[in-house]
Symmetry: C2
Subunit: 300 residues, 2 copies
Protein backbone atom coordinates (compact mmCIF):
# COMPACT_ATOMS: atom_id res chain seq x y z
CA UNK A 1 0.00 0.00 0.00
CA UNK A 2 1.34 3.42 -1.01
CA UNK A 3 0.67 6.73 0.75
CA UNK A 4 -2.36 8.43 -0.80
CA UNK A 5 -2.99 12.04 -1.75
CA UNK A 6 -6.80 12.25 -1.70
CA UNK A 7 -8.40 15.16 -3.56
CA UNK A 8 -12.03 16.26 -3.67
CA UNK A 9 -12.23 18.89 -6.44
CA UNK A 10 -15.73 20.27 -6.59
CA UNK A 11 -17.52 23.09 -8.37
CA UNK A 12 -16.76 25.74 -5.77
CA UNK A 13 -14.09 24.28 -3.49
CA UNK A 14 -10.95 22.16 -3.59
CA UNK A 15 -10.00 19.96 -0.65
CA UNK A 16 -7.03 17.66 -0.28
CA UNK A 17 -5.68 15.28 2.38
CA UNK A 18 -2.46 13.34 2.77
CA UNK A 19 -3.30 9.94 4.20
CA UNK A 20 -1.22 7.32 5.98
CA UNK A 21 -1.19 3.78 4.63
CA UNK A 22 -3.86 2.93 7.23
CA UNK A 23 -6.04 5.82 6.01
CA UNK A 24 -5.38 8.35 8.78
CA UNK A 25 -5.46 11.99 7.74
CA UNK A 26 -1.89 13.29 8.30
CA UNK A 27 -2.54 16.77 6.90
CA UNK A 28 -5.39 18.47 5.03
CA UNK A 29 -5.84 21.62 2.96
CA UNK A 30 -8.82 23.49 1.60
CA UNK A 31 -8.90 26.19 -1.08
CA UNK A 32 -11.61 28.31 -2.74
CA UNK A 33 -10.32 26.96 -6.06
CA UNK A 34 -13.33 25.03 -7.33
CA UNK A 35 -13.29 24.09 -11.02
CA UNK A 36 -15.28 27.22 -11.91
CA UNK A 37 -12.24 29.33 -10.92
CA UNK A 38 -9.78 27.40 -13.08
CA UNK A 39 -9.30 28.48 -16.72
CA UNK A 40 -9.28 25.62 -19.28
CA UNK A 41 -5.84 24.05 -19.55
CA UNK A 42 -4.72 25.32 -16.12
CA UNK A 43 -5.80 22.39 -13.96
CA UNK A 44 -2.38 20.71 -13.86
CA UNK A 45 -0.66 24.01 -12.97
CA UNK A 46 -3.12 24.72 -10.12
CA UNK A 47 -2.74 21.16 -8.87
CA UNK A 48 1.08 21.36 -8.91
CA UNK A 49 1.03 24.73 -7.18
CA UNK A 50 -1.21 23.56 -4.33
CA UNK A 51 -0.18 19.91 -3.93
CA UNK A 52 3.23 19.66 -5.66
CA UNK A 53 5.09 19.28 -2.34
CA UNK A 54 2.95 16.28 -1.35
CA UNK A 55 3.39 14.69 -4.79
CA UNK A 56 7.18 14.93 -4.42
CA UNK A 57 7.10 11.95 -2.01
CA UNK A 58 8.41 8.72 -3.58
CA UNK A 59 5.67 6.53 -5.11
CA UNK A 60 2.98 9.11 -4.35
CA UNK A 61 -0.46 8.06 -5.58
CA UNK A 62 -3.18 10.64 -6.08
CA UNK A 63 -6.91 10.00 -6.61
CA UNK A 64 -9.16 12.94 -7.50
CA UNK A 65 -12.95 12.80 -7.18
CA UNK A 66 -15.63 15.37 -7.99
CA UNK A 67 -16.29 17.80 -10.80
CA UNK A 68 -12.61 17.82 -11.88
CA UNK A 69 -13.68 14.80 -13.96
CA UNK A 70 -16.53 16.65 -15.67
CA UNK A 71 -16.60 18.20 -19.13
CA UNK A 72 -15.74 21.57 -17.53
CA UNK A 73 -12.94 20.05 -15.42
CA UNK A 74 -9.37 18.81 -15.84
CA UNK A 75 -10.42 16.09 -18.26
CA UNK A 76 -13.73 14.31 -18.80
CA UNK A 77 -13.89 10.95 -17.05
CA UNK A 78 -16.95 9.24 -18.59
CA UNK A 79 -19.66 8.18 -16.13
CA UNK A 80 -19.50 4.60 -14.91
CA UNK A 81 -22.96 3.04 -15.42
CA UNK A 82 -24.87 1.44 -12.51
CA UNK A 83 -25.01 -1.09 -11.02
CA UNK A 84 -21.49 -0.22 -9.92
CA UNK A 85 -19.28 -0.92 -6.92
CA UNK A 86 -15.60 -0.43 -6.10
CA UNK A 87 -14.54 -2.87 -8.80
CA UNK A 88 -16.29 -0.91 -11.55
CA UNK A 89 -15.03 2.44 -10.22
CA UNK A 90 -11.44 1.12 -10.19
CA UNK A 91 -11.79 -0.17 -13.77
CA UNK A 92 -13.10 3.22 -14.95
CA UNK A 93 -10.38 5.41 -13.39
CA UNK A 94 -9.01 7.93 -15.87
CA UNK A 95 -5.22 8.05 -15.45
CA UNK A 96 -3.82 11.53 -16.02
CA UNK A 97 -0.29 10.29 -15.24
CA UNK A 98 0.21 6.51 -15.42
CA UNK A 99 0.08 4.84 -12.00
CA UNK A 100 0.41 8.26 -10.33
CA UNK A 101 -2.64 10.58 -10.73
CA UNK A 102 -6.15 9.41 -11.61
CA UNK A 103 -9.63 10.91 -11.87
CA UNK A 104 -12.41 8.88 -10.26
CA UNK A 105 -15.42 8.76 -12.63
CA UNK A 106 -18.94 9.67 -11.57
CA UNK A 107 -21.87 7.25 -11.81
CA UNK A 108 -24.87 7.24 -14.15
CA UNK A 109 -28.08 5.26 -13.98
CA UNK A 110 -31.37 4.93 -15.82
CA UNK A 111 -34.46 5.01 -13.61
CA UNK A 112 -37.19 2.69 -14.91
CA UNK A 113 -39.77 4.29 -12.58
CA UNK A 114 -39.42 7.66 -14.38
CA UNK A 115 -39.59 6.53 -18.03
CA UNK A 116 -35.86 5.65 -18.07
CA UNK A 117 -34.70 9.16 -17.28
CA UNK A 118 -30.93 9.23 -16.78
CA UNK A 119 -29.38 10.49 -13.54
CA UNK A 120 -25.78 11.32 -12.70
CA UNK A 121 -23.42 12.00 -9.77
CA UNK A 122 -19.79 13.09 -9.46
CA UNK A 123 -17.95 12.99 -6.15
CA UNK A 124 -20.83 11.54 -4.13
CA UNK A 125 -19.89 7.98 -5.20
CA UNK A 126 -16.64 8.25 -3.24
CA UNK A 127 -18.40 9.66 -0.18
CA UNK A 128 -21.03 6.98 -0.13
CA UNK A 129 -18.58 4.10 -0.49
CA UNK A 130 -16.50 5.70 2.27
CA UNK A 131 -19.51 6.00 4.56
CA UNK A 132 -20.39 2.34 3.96
CA UNK A 133 -16.83 1.35 4.90
CA UNK A 134 -17.02 3.40 8.10
CA UNK A 135 -20.44 1.95 8.95
CA UNK A 136 -19.27 -1.56 8.00
CA UNK A 137 -22.36 -2.10 5.84
CA UNK A 138 -22.80 -3.13 2.22
CA UNK A 139 -26.55 -2.66 1.81
CA UNK A 140 -28.19 0.66 2.68
CA UNK A 141 -30.18 3.69 1.61
CA UNK A 142 -27.90 6.72 1.66
CA UNK A 143 -28.81 10.39 1.40
CA UNK A 144 -26.38 13.16 0.43
CA UNK A 145 -28.33 16.38 1.06
CA UNK A 146 -27.33 19.60 -0.62
CA UNK A 147 -27.94 21.82 -3.62
CA UNK A 148 -28.74 18.66 -5.53
CA UNK A 149 -29.67 16.06 -2.97
CA UNK A 150 -28.94 12.41 -3.88
CA UNK A 151 -30.85 9.33 -2.68
CA UNK A 152 -28.85 6.20 -3.30
CA UNK A 153 -29.68 2.51 -3.01
CA UNK A 154 -26.69 0.23 -2.39
CA UNK A 155 -27.13 -3.54 -2.45
CA UNK A 156 -24.28 -5.92 -1.66
CA UNK A 157 -21.71 -3.20 -2.14
CA UNK A 158 -23.01 -1.93 -5.48
CA UNK A 159 -25.06 1.17 -6.27
CA UNK A 160 -28.19 -0.19 -7.96
CA UNK A 161 -30.00 3.12 -8.48
CA UNK A 162 -30.08 6.73 -7.34
CA UNK A 163 -32.13 9.90 -7.81
CA UNK A 164 -31.28 13.59 -7.64
CA UNK A 165 -33.61 16.14 -6.01
CA UNK A 166 -33.07 19.87 -6.63
CA UNK A 167 -34.18 20.62 -3.07
CA UNK A 168 -31.34 22.90 -2.02
CA UNK A 169 -31.31 24.91 -5.23
CA UNK A 170 -35.11 25.33 -5.23
CA UNK A 171 -34.92 26.50 -1.60
CA UNK A 172 -32.31 29.11 -2.53
CA UNK A 173 -34.27 30.30 -5.58
CA UNK A 174 -37.59 30.57 -3.76
CA UNK A 175 -36.21 32.24 -0.64
CA UNK A 176 -33.94 34.69 -2.47
CA UNK A 177 -35.46 35.34 -5.89
CA UNK A 178 -39.23 34.68 -5.73
CA UNK A 179 -42.16 36.61 -4.31
CA UNK A 180 -41.73 34.54 -1.12
CA UNK A 181 -38.57 36.52 -0.42
CA UNK A 182 -40.76 39.53 0.40
CA UNK A 183 -42.44 37.69 3.28
CA UNK A 184 -39.55 35.83 4.90
CA UNK A 185 -36.54 37.03 6.85
CA UNK A 186 -33.42 35.04 5.94
CA UNK A 187 -31.60 36.37 9.02
CA UNK A 188 -33.78 34.31 11.34
CA UNK A 189 -32.19 31.35 13.13
CA UNK A 190 -33.37 27.79 12.51
CA UNK A 191 -36.76 27.14 14.14
CA UNK A 192 -37.51 23.47 14.75
CA UNK A 193 -41.25 23.95 15.34
CA UNK A 194 -41.81 25.82 12.08
CA UNK A 195 -39.57 23.33 10.25
CA UNK A 196 -41.64 20.37 11.45
CA UNK A 197 -44.85 22.27 10.62
CA UNK A 198 -43.52 22.47 7.06
CA UNK A 199 -42.70 18.74 7.11
CA UNK A 200 -46.25 17.96 8.25
CA UNK A 201 -47.70 20.17 5.53
CA UNK A 202 -45.53 18.46 2.91
CA UNK A 203 -47.08 15.07 3.71
CA UNK A 204 -50.63 16.27 2.91
CA UNK A 205 -52.24 15.57 -0.46
CA UNK A 206 -51.53 18.08 -3.20
CA UNK A 207 -48.62 19.63 -5.05
CA UNK A 208 -45.56 21.33 -3.63
CA UNK A 209 -46.11 24.07 -6.28
CA UNK A 210 -49.19 25.01 -4.27
CA UNK A 211 -47.85 24.34 -0.77
CA UNK A 212 -44.90 26.73 -1.10
CA UNK A 213 -47.31 29.63 -1.72
CA UNK A 214 -48.35 29.24 1.93
CA UNK A 215 -45.03 30.87 2.86
CA UNK A 216 -46.57 34.06 1.51
CA UNK A 217 -50.07 33.69 2.91
CA UNK A 218 -49.02 32.45 6.38
CA UNK A 219 -46.92 35.62 6.54
CA UNK A 220 -49.71 37.88 5.20
CA UNK A 221 -52.17 36.46 7.74
CA UNK A 222 -49.54 36.67 10.51
CA UNK A 223 -49.83 32.99 11.27
CA UNK A 224 -46.02 32.59 11.15
CA UNK A 225 -43.41 35.31 11.73
CA UNK A 226 -40.99 36.36 8.98
CA UNK A 227 -38.09 34.98 11.03
CA UNK A 228 -39.42 31.39 11.11
CA UNK A 229 -40.74 31.26 7.54
CA UNK A 230 -37.37 30.11 6.09
CA UNK A 231 -37.48 27.11 8.44
CA UNK A 232 -41.07 26.38 7.37
CA UNK A 233 -40.08 26.52 3.68
CA UNK A 234 -37.09 24.26 4.36
CA UNK A 235 -39.38 21.74 6.09
CA UNK A 236 -41.83 21.85 3.17
CA UNK A 237 -39.13 21.11 0.58
CA UNK A 238 -37.16 18.51 2.54
CA UNK A 239 -40.51 16.91 3.46
CA UNK A 240 -41.50 16.81 -0.24
CA UNK A 241 -38.22 15.02 -0.96
CA UNK A 242 -38.86 12.47 1.82
CA UNK A 243 -42.50 11.97 0.89
CA UNK A 244 -41.54 10.18 -2.29
CA UNK A 245 -39.02 7.76 -0.76
CA UNK A 246 -39.67 4.16 -0.02
CA UNK A 247 -37.06 3.10 2.51
CA UNK A 248 -37.06 -0.64 3.30
CA UNK A 249 -37.00 -0.68 7.16
CA UNK A 250 -35.22 -4.06 7.23
CA UNK A 251 -32.09 -2.43 5.74
CA UNK A 252 -31.18 -0.64 8.96
CA UNK A 253 -30.90 3.10 9.44
CA UNK A 254 -30.61 5.49 6.50
CA UNK A 255 -27.07 6.90 6.23
CA UNK A 256 -26.90 10.70 5.86
CA UNK A 257 -23.69 12.24 4.51
CA UNK A 258 -23.06 15.96 4.66
CA UNK A 259 -22.44 19.04 6.80
CA UNK A 260 -23.82 19.08 10.34
CA UNK A 261 -26.28 21.91 9.54
CA UNK A 262 -27.89 19.95 6.70
CA UNK A 263 -27.82 16.46 8.20
CA UNK A 264 -29.45 17.88 11.37
CA UNK A 265 -32.49 19.00 9.34
CA UNK A 266 -32.78 15.68 7.51
CA UNK A 267 -32.38 13.80 10.81
CA UNK A 268 -35.22 15.83 12.36
CA UNK A 269 -37.49 15.26 9.35
CA UNK A 270 -36.70 11.54 9.00
CA UNK A 271 -37.23 10.85 12.72
CA UNK A 272 -40.45 12.91 12.64
CA UNK A 273 -41.65 10.50 9.94
CA UNK A 274 -40.49 7.46 11.91
CA UNK A 275 -37.41 6.63 9.82
CA UNK A 276 -34.16 5.81 11.67
CA UNK A 277 -30.94 7.40 10.42
CA UNK A 278 -27.30 8.09 11.26
CA UNK A 279 -24.89 10.75 9.97
CA UNK A 280 -21.40 10.93 8.47
CA UNK A 281 -19.40 14.04 7.61
CA UNK A 282 -16.41 14.96 5.45
CA UNK A 283 -14.40 11.96 6.71
CA UNK A 284 -16.46 9.81 4.32
CA UNK A 285 -14.62 11.29 1.31
CA UNK A 286 -11.18 10.40 2.62
CA UNK A 287 -12.36 6.93 3.72
CA UNK A 288 -13.80 6.32 0.24
CA UNK A 289 -10.68 7.38 -1.64
CA UNK A 290 -8.50 5.39 0.76
CA UNK A 291 -10.59 2.26 0.30
CA UNK A 292 -10.42 2.69 -3.47
CA UNK A 293 -6.63 3.09 -3.35
CA UNK A 294 -6.37 -0.05 -1.19
CA UNK A 295 -8.30 -2.09 -3.75
CA UNK A 296 -6.07 -0.74 -6.53
CA UNK A 297 -2.86 -1.58 -4.76
CA UNK A 298 -4.08 -5.01 -3.68
CA UNK A 299 -5.20 -6.06 -7.10
CA UNK A 300 -3.36 -9.06 -8.50
CA UNK B 1 -77.27 51.86 -15.33
CA UNK B 2 -74.39 54.35 -15.54
CA UNK B 3 -71.48 54.26 -17.96
CA UNK B 4 -68.60 52.36 -16.40
CA UNK B 5 -64.87 53.08 -16.34
CA UNK B 6 -63.37 49.61 -15.75
CA UNK B 7 -59.78 49.48 -14.47
CA UNK B 8 -57.49 46.48 -13.97
CA UNK B 9 -54.48 47.78 -12.03
CA UNK B 10 -51.98 44.99 -11.58
CA UNK B 11 -48.44 44.62 -10.32
CA UNK B 12 -46.75 45.42 -13.62
CA UNK B 13 -49.43 46.88 -15.89
CA UNK B 14 -52.46 49.17 -15.81
CA UNK B 15 -55.36 48.64 -18.19
CA UNK B 16 -58.57 50.60 -18.48
CA UNK B 17 -61.74 50.46 -20.60
CA UNK B 18 -64.69 52.76 -21.04
CA UNK B 19 -67.81 50.63 -21.35
CA UNK B 20 -71.27 51.32 -22.74
CA UNK B 21 -74.29 50.66 -20.54
CA UNK B 22 -74.61 47.29 -22.26
CA UNK B 23 -70.99 46.42 -21.48
CA UNK B 24 -69.43 47.07 -24.89
CA UNK B 25 -65.84 48.34 -24.87
CA UNK B 26 -65.98 51.86 -26.37
CA UNK B 27 -62.31 52.62 -25.83
CA UNK B 28 -59.42 50.99 -24.00
CA UNK B 29 -55.96 52.04 -22.80
CA UNK B 30 -52.96 50.18 -21.45
CA UNK B 31 -49.94 51.58 -19.62
CA UNK B 32 -46.73 50.14 -18.13
CA UNK B 33 -47.77 51.79 -14.86
CA UNK B 34 -48.26 48.78 -12.59
CA UNK B 35 -48.45 49.50 -8.87
CA UNK B 36 -44.73 48.82 -8.49
CA UNK B 37 -44.00 51.96 -10.54
CA UNK B 38 -46.22 54.24 -8.43
CA UNK B 39 -44.70 55.95 -5.35
CA UNK B 40 -46.85 55.81 -2.18
CA UNK B 41 -49.44 58.58 -2.14
CA UNK B 42 -49.30 59.08 -5.92
CA UNK B 43 -52.05 56.69 -7.00
CA UNK B 44 -54.78 59.32 -7.28
CA UNK B 45 -52.50 61.62 -9.29
CA UNK B 46 -51.54 58.84 -11.72
CA UNK B 47 -55.20 57.83 -12.05
CA UNK B 48 -56.33 61.40 -12.76
CA UNK B 49 -53.55 61.88 -15.27
CA UNK B 50 -54.38 58.75 -17.25
CA UNK B 51 -58.18 58.54 -16.86
CA UNK B 52 -59.25 62.05 -15.77
CA UNK B 53 -60.87 62.76 -19.15
CA UNK B 54 -63.08 59.67 -18.93
CA UNK B 55 -64.05 60.50 -15.34
CA UNK B 56 -65.20 63.98 -16.43
CA UNK B 57 -68.36 62.39 -17.90
CA UNK B 58 -71.50 63.05 -15.83
CA UNK B 59 -72.31 60.31 -13.30
CA UNK B 60 -69.12 58.41 -14.20
CA UNK B 61 -68.68 55.24 -12.14
CA UNK B 62 -65.25 53.61 -11.82
CA UNK B 63 -64.47 50.13 -10.49
CA UNK B 64 -60.82 49.15 -10.00
CA UNK B 65 -59.71 45.55 -9.57
CA UNK B 66 -56.27 44.04 -9.00
CA UNK B 67 -53.26 44.87 -6.86
CA UNK B 68 -54.30 48.54 -6.52
CA UNK B 69 -56.31 47.21 -3.56
CA UNK B 70 -53.31 45.56 -1.90
CA UNK B 71 -51.21 46.85 0.97
CA UNK B 72 -48.70 48.20 -1.59
CA UNK B 73 -51.48 49.80 -3.69
CA UNK B 74 -53.75 52.85 -3.62
CA UNK B 75 -55.43 51.73 -0.43
CA UNK B 76 -55.83 48.29 1.17
CA UNK B 77 -59.20 46.70 0.41
CA UNK B 78 -59.44 43.80 2.90
CA UNK B 79 -59.94 40.38 1.34
CA UNK B 80 -63.52 39.15 1.08
CA UNK B 81 -63.67 35.65 2.65
CA UNK B 82 -65.03 32.67 0.65
CA UNK B 83 -67.59 31.41 -0.07
CA UNK B 84 -68.22 34.61 -1.97
CA UNK B 85 -70.18 35.66 -5.05
CA UNK B 86 -71.16 38.95 -6.61
CA UNK B 87 -73.28 39.94 -3.61
CA UNK B 88 -70.34 39.61 -1.21
CA UNK B 89 -67.94 41.40 -3.59
CA UNK B 90 -70.39 44.29 -3.91
CA UNK B 91 -70.76 44.55 -0.14
CA UNK B 92 -66.99 44.63 0.34
CA UNK B 93 -66.20 47.36 -2.22
CA UNK B 94 -63.88 50.00 -0.78
CA UNK B 95 -65.17 53.41 -1.92
CA UNK B 96 -62.33 55.86 -2.55
CA UNK B 97 -64.84 58.55 -3.60
CA UNK B 98 -68.44 57.96 -2.52
CA UNK B 99 -70.58 56.47 -5.30
CA UNK B 100 -67.88 57.33 -7.85
CA UNK B 101 -64.61 55.30 -7.52
CA UNK B 102 -64.33 51.96 -5.73
CA UNK B 103 -61.68 49.28 -5.25
CA UNK B 104 -62.89 45.70 -5.74
CA UNK B 105 -61.53 43.52 -2.92
CA UNK B 106 -59.68 40.27 -3.51
CA UNK B 107 -60.84 36.95 -2.10
CA UNK B 108 -59.40 34.81 0.67
CA UNK B 109 -60.13 31.21 1.62
CA UNK B 110 -58.94 28.58 4.08
CA UNK B 111 -58.21 25.19 2.53
CA UNK B 112 -59.16 22.35 4.88
CA UNK B 113 -57.21 19.84 2.74
CA UNK B 114 -53.92 21.62 3.48
CA UNK B 115 -54.21 22.09 7.26
CA UNK B 116 -56.31 25.27 6.84
CA UNK B 117 -53.65 27.15 4.96
CA UNK B 118 -54.96 30.50 3.77
CA UNK B 119 -54.95 31.43 0.09
CA UNK B 120 -55.58 34.77 -1.61
CA UNK B 121 -56.31 36.34 -5.01
CA UNK B 122 -56.62 39.94 -6.24
CA UNK B 123 -58.00 40.73 -9.68
CA UNK B 124 -58.70 37.13 -10.69
CA UNK B 125 -62.10 37.23 -8.91
CA UNK B 126 -63.35 39.79 -11.44
CA UNK B 127 -62.04 37.79 -14.39
CA UNK B 128 -63.60 34.57 -13.22
CA UNK B 129 -67.02 36.08 -12.58
CA UNK B 130 -66.79 37.74 -16.00
CA UNK B 131 -65.90 34.45 -17.69
CA UNK B 132 -68.85 32.74 -15.98
CA UNK B 133 -71.18 35.49 -17.27
CA UNK B 134 -69.82 35.07 -20.80
CA UNK B 135 -70.15 31.27 -20.59
CA UNK B 136 -73.60 31.57 -18.96
CA UNK B 137 -72.61 29.13 -16.22
CA UNK B 138 -72.74 29.39 -12.45
CA UNK B 139 -70.91 26.19 -11.50
CA UNK B 140 -67.47 25.42 -12.89
CA UNK B 141 -63.79 24.74 -12.31
CA UNK B 142 -61.79 27.71 -13.59
CA UNK B 143 -58.06 28.01 -14.14
CA UNK B 144 -56.18 31.31 -14.40
CA UNK B 145 -52.67 30.28 -15.48
CA UNK B 146 -49.72 32.59 -14.95
CA UNK B 147 -46.89 33.45 -12.59
CA UNK B 148 -49.17 32.30 -9.79
CA UNK B 149 -51.72 30.01 -11.36
CA UNK B 150 -55.15 29.86 -9.66
CA UNK B 151 -57.55 26.90 -9.63
CA UNK B 152 -61.02 27.98 -8.58
CA UNK B 153 -64.17 26.07 -7.72
CA UNK B 154 -67.43 27.98 -8.25
CA UNK B 155 -70.73 26.48 -7.13
CA UNK B 156 -74.06 28.21 -7.76
CA UNK B 157 -72.37 31.52 -8.49
CA UNK B 158 -70.11 31.55 -5.44
CA UNK B 159 -66.40 30.78 -5.13
CA UNK B 160 -66.23 27.96 -2.61
CA UNK B 161 -62.46 27.37 -2.65
CA UNK B 162 -59.33 28.06 -4.67
CA UNK B 163 -55.62 27.22 -4.68
CA UNK B 164 -52.56 29.04 -5.98
CA UNK B 165 -49.72 27.22 -7.77
CA UNK B 166 -46.36 28.96 -8.26
CA UNK B 167 -45.94 27.21 -11.63
CA UNK B 168 -45.03 30.24 -13.76
CA UNK B 169 -42.60 31.69 -11.24
CA UNK B 170 -40.89 28.33 -10.65
CA UNK B 171 -40.56 27.89 -14.42
CA UNK B 172 -38.90 31.31 -14.73
CA UNK B 173 -36.54 30.65 -11.78
CA UNK B 174 -35.50 27.19 -12.95
CA UNK B 175 -35.03 28.13 -16.60
CA UNK B 176 -33.21 31.41 -15.96
CA UNK B 177 -31.45 31.10 -12.61
CA UNK B 178 -30.79 27.41 -11.88
CA UNK B 179 -28.26 24.91 -13.18
CA UNK B 180 -30.91 23.85 -15.72
CA UNK B 181 -30.31 27.15 -17.49
CA UNK B 182 -26.94 25.79 -18.67
CA UNK B 183 -28.61 22.96 -20.60
CA UNK B 184 -31.61 24.65 -22.17
CA UNK B 185 -31.92 27.26 -24.89
CA UNK B 186 -34.65 29.78 -24.11
CA UNK B 187 -34.64 31.02 -27.70
CA UNK B 188 -36.22 27.79 -28.94
CA UNK B 189 -39.83 27.92 -30.14
CA UNK B 190 -42.57 25.97 -28.40
CA UNK B 191 -42.31 22.24 -29.15
CA UNK B 192 -45.53 20.32 -28.60
CA UNK B 193 -43.91 16.86 -28.60
CA UNK B 194 -41.37 17.76 -25.90
CA UNK B 195 -44.09 19.58 -23.93
CA UNK B 196 -46.32 16.48 -23.89
CA UNK B 197 -43.31 14.31 -23.02
CA UNK B 198 -42.92 16.53 -19.93
CA UNK B 199 -46.64 16.19 -19.16
CA UNK B 200 -46.34 12.38 -19.36
CA UNK B 201 -43.29 12.41 -17.08
CA UNK B 202 -45.11 14.61 -14.58
CA UNK B 203 -47.83 11.98 -14.15
CA UNK B 204 -45.35 9.28 -13.05
CA UNK B 205 -44.81 8.47 -9.38
CA UNK B 206 -42.23 10.59 -7.57
CA UNK B 207 -41.47 14.19 -6.78
CA UNK B 208 -41.23 17.13 -9.15
CA UNK B 209 -38.03 18.13 -7.27
CA UNK B 210 -36.48 15.04 -8.84
CA UNK B 211 -38.22 15.16 -12.22
CA UNK B 212 -36.98 18.65 -13.10
CA UNK B 213 -33.36 17.44 -12.82
CA UNK B 214 -34.04 15.41 -15.98
CA UNK B 215 -33.88 18.69 -17.91
CA UNK B 216 -30.16 18.58 -17.17
CA UNK B 217 -29.54 14.88 -17.74
CA UNK B 218 -31.69 14.56 -20.89
CA UNK B 219 -29.54 17.38 -22.27
CA UNK B 220 -26.24 15.82 -21.09
CA UNK B 221 -27.19 12.47 -22.65
CA UNK B 222 -28.41 14.21 -25.82
CA UNK B 223 -31.86 12.67 -25.52
CA UNK B 224 -33.51 16.09 -26.01
CA UNK B 225 -32.03 19.14 -27.76
CA UNK B 226 -31.39 22.39 -25.90
CA UNK B 227 -34.04 24.13 -28.02
CA UNK B 228 -36.90 21.82 -26.91
CA UNK B 229 -35.90 21.51 -23.24
CA UNK B 230 -37.84 24.66 -22.19
CA UNK B 231 -41.01 23.06 -23.61
CA UNK B 232 -40.22 19.83 -21.74
CA UNK B 233 -39.75 21.76 -18.46
CA UNK B 234 -42.98 23.66 -19.07
CA UNK B 235 -44.83 20.37 -19.60
CA UNK B 236 -43.33 18.91 -16.42
CA UNK B 237 -44.47 21.85 -14.28
CA UNK B 238 -47.91 22.39 -15.82
CA UNK B 239 -48.38 18.62 -15.64
CA UNK B 240 -47.44 18.65 -11.93
CA UNK B 241 -50.09 21.33 -11.37
CA UNK B 242 -52.72 19.27 -13.21
CA UNK B 243 -51.77 16.01 -11.52
CA UNK B 244 -53.15 17.24 -8.23
CA UNK B 245 -56.54 18.44 -9.50
CA UNK B 246 -59.75 16.58 -9.13
CA UNK B 247 -62.11 17.99 -11.73
CA UNK B 248 -65.71 16.71 -11.49
CA UNK B 249 -66.50 15.76 -15.13
CA UNK B 250 -70.24 16.39 -14.63
CA UNK B 251 -69.53 20.14 -14.24
CA UNK B 252 -68.80 20.60 -17.92
CA UNK B 253 -65.55 21.84 -19.42
CA UNK B 254 -62.90 23.57 -17.33
CA UNK B 255 -62.78 27.31 -18.10
CA UNK B 256 -59.29 28.67 -18.79
CA UNK B 257 -58.72 32.44 -18.53
CA UNK B 258 -55.54 34.06 -19.78
CA UNK B 259 -53.34 34.97 -22.71
CA UNK B 260 -53.47 32.79 -25.82
CA UNK B 261 -49.88 31.57 -25.35
CA UNK B 262 -50.59 30.25 -21.85
CA UNK B 263 -54.10 28.90 -22.36
CA UNK B 264 -52.82 26.99 -25.43
CA UNK B 265 -50.36 25.06 -23.24
CA UNK B 266 -52.98 24.29 -20.59
CA UNK B 267 -55.46 23.25 -23.28
CA UNK B 268 -52.90 20.82 -24.75
CA UNK B 269 -52.07 19.37 -21.33
CA UNK B 270 -55.70 19.09 -20.16
CA UNK B 271 -56.84 17.42 -23.40
CA UNK B 272 -53.83 15.08 -23.26
CA UNK B 273 -55.10 13.98 -19.85
CA UNK B 274 -58.68 13.65 -21.13
CA UNK B 275 -60.12 16.79 -19.51
CA UNK B 276 -62.36 19.04 -21.65
CA UNK B 277 -61.78 22.80 -21.49
CA UNK B 278 -62.56 26.13 -23.15
CA UNK B 279 -60.71 29.46 -23.07
CA UNK B 280 -61.46 33.13 -22.35
CA UNK B 281 -59.14 36.11 -22.73
CA UNK B 282 -58.92 39.69 -21.48
CA UNK B 283 -62.61 40.33 -22.25
CA UNK B 284 -63.40 38.43 -19.03
CA UNK B 285 -62.12 41.33 -16.92
CA UNK B 286 -64.38 43.92 -18.56
CA UNK B 287 -67.34 41.54 -18.45
CA UNK B 288 -66.77 40.93 -14.74
CA UNK B 289 -66.51 44.61 -13.81
CA UNK B 290 -69.54 45.41 -15.96
CA UNK B 291 -71.63 42.69 -14.30
CA UNK B 292 -70.57 43.96 -10.88
CA UNK B 293 -71.55 47.53 -11.80
CA UNK B 294 -74.91 46.30 -13.06
CA UNK B 295 -75.66 44.58 -9.75
CA UNK B 296 -74.65 47.74 -7.87
CA UNK B 297 -76.88 49.98 -9.93
CA UNK B 298 -79.79 47.58 -9.81
CA UNK B 299 -79.73 47.12 -6.08
CA UNK B 300 -82.86 48.38 -4.29
Amino acid sequence: MRALIAIDWGTSSLRGARLSVTGQVLESREFARGILTVPPGQFEAVFNELFGDWMAAPHALCLISGMAGSRQGWQEAPYCPCPAGFAELGQHLLWLQADRIALVPGLSCMNPDTLNTPDVMRGEEVQLFGALQLAERNTATLVLPGTHSKWVQVEHGRVTRFSTFMTGEVYALLSQHSILGKTLDLNGTFDETAFLQGVDQSQQAGSVLNKVFAVRTLGLFERLSAAVLPSYLSGLLIGEELRHQNVPPAQGPVILIGSDALTLRYTLALRHLGIACQSRGAEATWAGLHALATKLTNKP
